[in-house]
Assembly symmetry: C2
Homo-oligomer: 336 residues x 2
């Protein structure tokens, strides 16, 4: 196993509630076996609490040589998981590399190993960071290749932002409030207004801890509500039933593809819809997430489109749709 830090350069300074940045660090991981290499990645948005240091510290502790068969993913990930609590992005980097390696050993893409149809992928949204209404409108115009835009709201300028976008495009919109609304009645009024503006879903409208308010809001909302900050790992999914309409699964939140598959199965078993999200990351982690996309109703896999120095060639958005290749494993080829 090898790993190294890498700095992603953002096309635009990226702002969501409470955080702005121009560079975003990742750690790139390689796991080798009998001449094949599986690639993985840990993306490190500051709000998830992991740092370059914590990931490197975690990965240095790992001794994968104790396992003689890389296909024993369940056991290997159990060992990885027990090394330390948290560290989900670090754990995801190993999980992704192992799935990539397994696919290469079986000469099949991960989606094929899971029996999924690569043509049944959803369209992906493209995220417009929080900015002045004028800048948001300009960025929306620039996102011509995307068929759905995801707009960050929750800073008191919600209607201005939506109105500004509607001066330049009529595309369907996802809105991500990042816990920004605090009153459920005002939230419901806003959702009704947003629906009239062509908004399709509302992500994390209220604080993650506002469980009763969210259950009420979901029950009354004319648009589906999607949990993001409220749902991180496998054990959280059961708490979302009856509280949100769906959950946003992200590999870096939950610890990787295996945990994500479990979360998707549990969610569907509880009548929750599945959304697939990502962080600012290369086409390595984005391609890994995309392998699950036939299981998702909604997709927001744009992390690789937000950077200028991607080091993988992988999943492509074609005419707005997540498009999987026949490449084995996660379907990402390193450019280094």
């Amino acid at each position: 196993m090898r790993f190294r830090p890498y700095d992603l350069h953002l096309r635009h300074v990226f702002t969501i509630s409470g955080d702005s940045r121009a560079v975003s660090p990742v750690v790139l991981v390689e796991v080798g076996f009998e001449g094949l290499v599986g690639y993985g990645e840990a993306a490190l948005p500051p709000y998830l609490g992991e740092s370059l240091q914590s990931v490197l510290r975690f990965l240095k502790q790992l001794d994968l040589s104790r396992f003689h068969n890389p296909l024993l993913i369940h056991d290997i990930l159990e060992y990885v998981d027990r090394l330390a609590p948290g560290n989900f992005a670090a754990k995801a980097s190993i999980d992704i590399a192992l799935h990539d390696l397994a696919g290469k050993l079986m000469q099949q893409p991960c989606h094929r190993i899971w029996g999924l149809n690569p043509e049944r992928t959803p369209h992906s949204s493209f995220t417009i960071g929080i900015d002045s209404p004028a800048v948001v409108a300009r960025k929306s115009r620039e996102a011509a290749s995307s068929s759905i835009l995801k707009v960050k709201l929750g800073r008191g300028t919600d209607k201005e932002i939506i109105n500004a976008i509607r001066t330049v495009t009529a595309k369907p919109l996802y809105v991500d409030v990042n816990q920004g609304w605090t009153d459920k009645h005002e939230a419901l009024d806003m959702i009704h207004w947003l629906k009239d503006q062509g908004v399709v879903l509302v992500e994390q409208p209220m604080p993650a801890g506002a469980v009763e308010e969210m259950a009420w809001l979901t029950q009354h909302s004319p648009l589906p509500t999607v949990a993001d900050e409220a749902v991180q790992v496998v054990a959280d999914v059961k708490k979302m039933a009856g509280v949100y309409s769906g959950i946003n699964i992200k590999l870096m939140k939950c610890g990787g593809m295996r945990a994500a598959l479990k979360m998707a199965a549990i969610a569907r078993g509880l009548d929750l819809e599945v959304m697939l999200g990502c962080m600012v990351e290369t086409s390595c982690a984005v391609s890994a997430a995309a392998q699950l996309s036939p299981l998702a109703k909604w997709c927001d896999l744009d992390g690789n489109l937000l950077i200028t120095n991607d080091v993988f060639d992988g999943m492509k958005i074609v005419d707005g749709k997540v498009t999987l290749s026949e490449r084995p494993g996660i379907g990402a080829v390193p450019l280094f």
Copy 2:
């Protein structure tokens, strides 16, 4: 695709609450692709409502030639599922054949494709049908190779049966009441007594519809309770949380390996334990179920041991433990 009926001959006339039989029908299925053959099986215990006729009728409707890639299991099974409601054993026979074929195409056993460790399998119980205490004791003595016995109770002779078994063996026991107890307080008293006799778990102690009583019983029970008749398909699992300690997943109840995997994921996500069961069936369906056994806490995979004319060589119970091979797919080889 080819299929044919086959009559299994039982070693002993097999009795559970409400049903006795000496012969049990199955339908054997083959799905071919590029020179490889995947084997599947529909087992037909009369209490599940499917018959030879209904299975043959269902299978005759199928047109798998519309799919060009047998690895698109999700799509194929969706098509199979939509052909008609119910028919879960018929659907399972196709699901098993497809998983066997997929494993052969990828040259891996199913458990390996799922990342599971074949050494982490549980022991399997061996079922003693309902009979007089003396006969039950004799059958228990004969089951020398099994490390756990599963005993059918619920016919008013529970203590006599357990006492008779305890005169011949001290092995741990699973008891399956098949909905036979009707009073929750009496049930709890009996469970306390059974625990003192070395019983490990209690399957379906009360009627499937006795939800409140079962929730109370599970909360107070010193032994885990396992749902069987109360849980059939994926959509049922969520209703078991807080009502039972675990669920008994059977391929013929739920429609096959893919549904079983989903049920196991949902169960674990709801803090329910997983038991893996079977019908009277050949080593084909038993081996298919065994592929999931590293995910199960408890196993009752003895269907092939109850018959005299098995037509597959597959999963073996070695020193009581489910033992998986490195054969591809479901790990069963036809003897015809």
